[in-house]
Every structure is written in C-alpha cells, then in structure tokens.
C-alpha cells in the first residue's frame, strides 16, 4: 500500500481559494482523518487525491510516483461517498460489479469477487435488491463493498456516516475502523465530526479556510492544540476560554488576572508566557473535564454561580456563570453530586491542564 505525500497543494476556483497550500503525509496503511467545518477545503483535497479535481499547484505523491496528471482510474483508489452514490437503476450486485466491469474483467471473476466481498460485509442476501429497497445502513455497506471490490491501494471516505442515525453511526464507526485495520489499506477520511476523527484515525489533520491548522495524533490535537481554533474544535463540549486576561508576577508567582479572577501559573508556565513576551490580552483555556467543583476555595481556581444543569446520565454538565466573563463555562461533574442552580461554587483547575493563547493571533503560548 502506498504512502501518500502532499506538498504545498493548492486548488483555486476562480478567486475562491478552496485549498491554499497544504502539505501532509499519510504513512503506508495509516488511517488519517481530515477534519474541519464545512467549506474548509477537506473534500476538495480528497477529490484531488482521487484525481477528480486537478490541483492548481502543488504535488500529490503515491510513494515515489507523482500523481498530479494520473487519471482517476489508474490511481488504484476506492471511494465511499456521502450519499453513497449507488446507481438507483442497478441492483446491489450490479452496483458492486460495476468497477470490475469497467476494468473489463470476465463474468466468472466478477461473480466470485462480488460474492466474496458481499459475504465479508454481510450483504450477500441483498444482491438482487435495488438501492431504494434496502436501509441506509445496508446502502452504506454496499457503497463500502463497491469501493473495496476492486482491491484499491488507497481508500477515500467523504463523510460516509453523516447520513446515518446516531446509533448506526457509532456502530459503523467501529466497523470501518476494524475493516481498515484488517485490510491495511492507506485511508483518508473526511469528516466534520470531531468524535469520528478522534475515535477512528491514527492522525488528524484539522482544516480551516483551506489550510491545515494542525496535524497530529488524536492525543496531540486534543491535549496540545496549537491554536484556539483547534482547542475549541476538538472536544464536546469544547474547551472553555476566558478572554482578556493579564499576566502579572505577584510575590514572585505568575498569575493570570481579570477583575476578581486570579489563576496561578506554575513556574514553567510563567516562564513560557514571559518568553512569549506578552502580558495583556491573553486567553486562558481549560477543558470541562479538567475542573473539579467544590463548595469552598481549595487550591487554584475561580468562583462562579451555577447557571443551568445539563444531565447526560453518566455525566452532568454544569454551566457556570463567572462574574466578568461573557461566555458560560461548562464543567463535567459527577451526577450524584448535589448541585443546584444558583449555587455558588468554586472551580478548582488542574494546574497541568491549563492552556494559554495569544488573544490576537490565537496561537498557543503553552
């Protein structure tokens, strides 16, 4: 299976810069997710890998072969589309056989390959149905079978699960991941769902406005985001942010301040801020799970008032209003804990889980 290397890839549609100079690498057999909001260029990138779109500039390499001018059919690429793109007038069998027919394979070969893949994907009882006569989940499997039957070296997924209901999506997520691991096909998976990217991919490229903002393992992009964009895009609910903080040294200790709020930083963190050289307009970030709620002041933290509760069964999301902070702070808590709306509570912050960003450039300081 090839390694994919993309170098300074650009795609402009007239004046619209859909993809604006991205570079990344997908290792042999790796599963990479392209994640971002709609219109960020991730699907355009996928279509360039497939050969449907021609890049405006830049290079696409499969191993040591430059693919820019290679037509789609010679790229050895299988693709699963958002709406499955199953031909409505053909049966499931004919749909899956289509790529093999296009290759000019003989009838017996086609038959045995279709039977094999449909057996594997548990759709061999649907072969004579039309796509309109099977369920969404089954259509998804047929689309997968059609992409896999021609034994591609690269698999491309364009938001393949977004048309399924939540329950089925969770199920297919695991199945696709397992299938990809078993087959070891180099895969690129486009999604706008951060949970899908986190759970399935070994690395995630986070897109915004035609550029890759960060490329790393799920752990890296979640725990060490390089910008406010990544920090707030990953995680549900996203990272809490407090804007407009000032950095000061009080009795030798580094502190972030905003009105009554004062959050202590560690020596290492204080040095980082000083090295960065900015003391105003800083943004403090912390994830909802990196906070513990107490009734009295304990250690490093912020006082607030419970605004509204969102029980999730296993967890409880506590929305906290903090004086002087515009946005609500969301905190995960234990549902057995006695918290009521209007309670005054202390949010104790895990010192090592704090993030600070530059409020202007939105890049991470630490």
């Amino acid at each position: 299976m090839p390694e994919i290397r993309v170098v300074d890839l650009k795609k402009y549609f007239g004046k619209v810069k859909a993809v604006d100079g991205i570079s990344f690498q997908v290792k042999d057999g790796e599963f990479v997710a392209l994640l971002g909001p709609s219109g960020c260029g991730k699907t355009t990138t996928l279509l360039m890998l497939a050969g449907i779109y021609k890049p405006t500039s830049g290079e696409i390499w499969f191993d040591d072969q430059l693919m820019n001018n290679v037509p789609p059919r010679y790229r050895g690429v299988g693709m699963v589309f958002q709406n499955y793109a199953l031909y409505p007038h053909m049966t499931v069998y004919e749909n899956i056989a289509f790529p093999l027919k296009a290759k000019g394979m003989n009838h017996d070969e086609i038959d045995s390959m279709v039977k094999e893949i449909t057996k594997k994907l548990l759709i061999d009882h649907l072969l004579d149905r039309k796509p309109t006569q099977i369920s969404g989940g089954q259509q998804q499997r047929v689309a997968l079978a059609r992409a896999l039957v021609k034994e591609p070296k690269v698999l491309l997924f364009d938001e393949p699960l977004s048309n399924l209901d939540a329950k089925l999506r969770m199920m297919m997520r695991a199945e696709i991941k397992k299938l990809q691991e078993d087959l070891g096909i180099t895969s690129v998976y486009v999604t706008h769902d951060q949970a899908e990217a986190m759970t399935m991919a070994s690395r995630i490229a986070i897109f915004n406005k035609g550029k890759i903002i960060q490329y790393g393992t799920p752990d890296e992009v979640y725990n060490s985001p390089n910008s406010i964009f990544v920090a707030t895009f990953m995680g549900n609910p996203p990272m809490n942010l407090i804007y407009g903080m000032k950095f000061k040294r009080e009795e030798g200790e580094g502190v972030l301040k905003l009105k009554n709020i004062s959050v202590k930083l560690s020596d290492y963190q204080s040095k980082k801020v000083e090295e960065y050289g900015k003391t105003e307009n800083l943004v403090l970030g912390f994830r909802p799970e990196d906070v513990s709620i107490t009734k009295k002041e304990e250690g490093n933290g912020i006082w607030g008032e419970v605004y509204v509760l969102e029980p999730l069964g296993r967890d409880l999301i506590v929305n906290v209003k903090i004086e002087g902070v515009e946005n609500l702070i969301k905190v995960f808590s234990d549902p057995t804990k006695e918290i009521r709306e209007g309670d005054r509570i202390f949010l104790r912050l895990k010192p090592e889980a704090l993030h600070v960003f530059d409020g202007e450039t939105e890049v991470t300081i630490f």
Binding site: A85, M90, Q133, I134
Partner: protein, 293 residues
C-alpha cells in the same frame, strides 16, 4: 376552501368545454356526415371511413406521414436532442450553454419567417443560399425542392423540434447527482460506458416522455410543410394532417376531413400505448420497497 377552489377552476372548465370537448364531439359527429361547403348535416354512416380505405392518395400519405414523423423524431427531436444534451453536458457549462442557445434560436424565430428562411436556402434559382454556394464553386444550380422535398421538410422541422428534447434531457442529466459520475470515473468507466450504463437509464422517463409527446406533435403539425412545400411536389410531402387540412379547407369536404382527423387521433393513441409498453411504464412507476432495520 373546497368551494373557492371550484370557483377558481370553473372558468377554465367552461373554456375547455367550449373549445375542446364540444369541437371534439362535433368532429366525431361530423365524420359521419358528408358535409361540404353547403354545411348540410347529411349522415352517411361509415362511408367516409370506407372512402379513406379506398382513397388512392392515402397509401402515399400514410407512408409520407410515417417517414416524416419517425425520421424527424429519430434524427432530430429525440436523436439530436439527446446527442446535444449528452455532448453539451460533457464540456464546461459555459460552452455547453452556448451551443444549447444556438439550438434554441430556430424556436425563437416566428414560424412563417423560419419557413421562408428555408425556402430561401433551397430556392431553385441562383438567389438561393445553397445554389449561390454551388455556383460560386462552378456547379450548376439545383431544384432542391423537387429533388429532395421530404429531406428539406424533415430538416426544417428537426432544427426546431430538437430544442424541446434538448432542454428536457439537459435538465434531467444535470439533475443526476455528480457523485454518480465521480464514482464511475474512479472506477475507470469510459464516457461511452457512463452514458450507456448511468446517464441513459436515469433519463429513460424523460426520453419516453419526449418521444411520445413529439410523436403526437409531429403527427398533427403541418405548418412548416404548408409554408415550404404545401405537400408537393405532387403529394411527395403530403402528410396525414396536411391532407386533412387540404380536404377540409381547400376542397371543403368537411365531413371527409373530420373522418381523416378522427383516424389520425386513433393512430396517435395507438402509438402512445405502444411507447408505454416499450418503456415498461409500469415498472418505471413502481414504488420502492424500503426495509428499515
């Protein structure tokens, strides 16, 4: 609400009754009379229909009608329309739109002007466009309207008739989800395979509609033939509808003309039913059986 709807619909109902249903009934009744310029309702039973069966012009008119209808249909109204739609949707839309606009121009021209244009192109004297071109190459002028009248009639009608099919087919092709084509391209399907296996099956319903509609329209329309050849020379382009017109309004045999038009309507109905069979209309309309798991 129901009452209001009926009030709004009723004027049209009256119009349709006066201008469609009554004339249809009158025509059928008329076809059993030998009414002429004296406008007498003399009922003569089936004698008009017997006359049609023995009219020595009828075999020629029938052949002409079939040749005219199906050549125009095959070469232009469905054939060219399909080809133009397939080709113009395969190139960038800017150019596709340009070529489609060109094919719309005849439709935008008033029919008499359009007919006269063809008369000028095929004019037998040196002033005709084709003859002018021939003579500038040193060839003698030709009497085109005598040499190939049916061809001229078919071409003149076809250039106008292709536009409707073109519009419908193009719209249908553009409505096909683009991912079908992307998937096929990735699979290495050729343009021909994509056209045959994906595009054509998915616009089958529109092809059926245009074929049926244009057959009926070609069977009954004769204005361009009237302007260009008037059925001549010597009945060589006399089609059924034009013959009906000539019988009724040149020879004032209203009863016979009515009988001819009744037969034409029956022919149209037979063709329509044949198309529905041919395209397996019922299968096209079948409801999906979705199974939810």
């Amino acid at each position: 609400m129901k009452k209001t709807a009926w009030i709004f619909l009723s004027p049209m109902l009256v119009m349709v009754t006066i201008f469609f249903f009554i004339p249809v009934i009158l025509t059928i009744v008329l076809s059993f009379t030998d009414m002429d310029y004296q406008f007498q309702w003399n009922f003569v039973g089936f004698s008009n229909f017997k006359d049609i069966a023995t009219d020595f012009i009828i075999p020629k008119v029938t052949t002409n009608t079939l040749i005219y209808t199906f050549t125009t249909l095959g070469l232009f109204n469905v054939g060219s329309a399909l080809l133009i739609s397939l080709l113009t949707t395969s190139i960038p839309d800017k150019w596709g739109g340009f070529f489609r606009t060109l094919w719309m121009l005849p439709r935008l021209t008033p029919s008499v002007v359009y007919g006269l244009l063809w008369l000028w192109i095929f004019d037998p004297t040196e002033h005709g466009l084709l003859n002018f071109m021939r003579m500038s190459m040193g060839l003698p002028p030709q009497n085109w309207l005598y040499r190939a009248p049916m061809f001229i009639v078919v071409v003149a009608n076809g250039f106008i008739g292709a536009s409707m099919g073109m519009l419908i087919f193009t719209a249908a092709i553009k409505a096909i989800p683009i991912d079908y084509y992307r998937a096929a391209l990735l699979d290495g399907a050729s343009w021909w395979m994509i056209t045959r296996k994906i595009t054509l099956p998915l616009i089958k319903w529109q092809v059926l509609f245009v074929t049926a509609y244009q057959t009926l329209s070609l069977l009954t329309s004769f204005e361009y033939i009237l302007i260009i050849t008037d059925g001549g020379p010597v009945f060589r382009t006399e089609v059924w509808s034009l013959y009906t017109y000539h019988m009724a309004f040149s020879n004032y045999r209203f009863g016979y003309g009515a009988a001819l038009s009744v037969v034409l309507v029956i022919m149209g109905i037979i063709f329509a039913i044949a198309y529905l069979r041919l395209f397996k209309f019922e299968a096209l309309m079948q409801k999906p059986k979705v199974e939810v798991d």
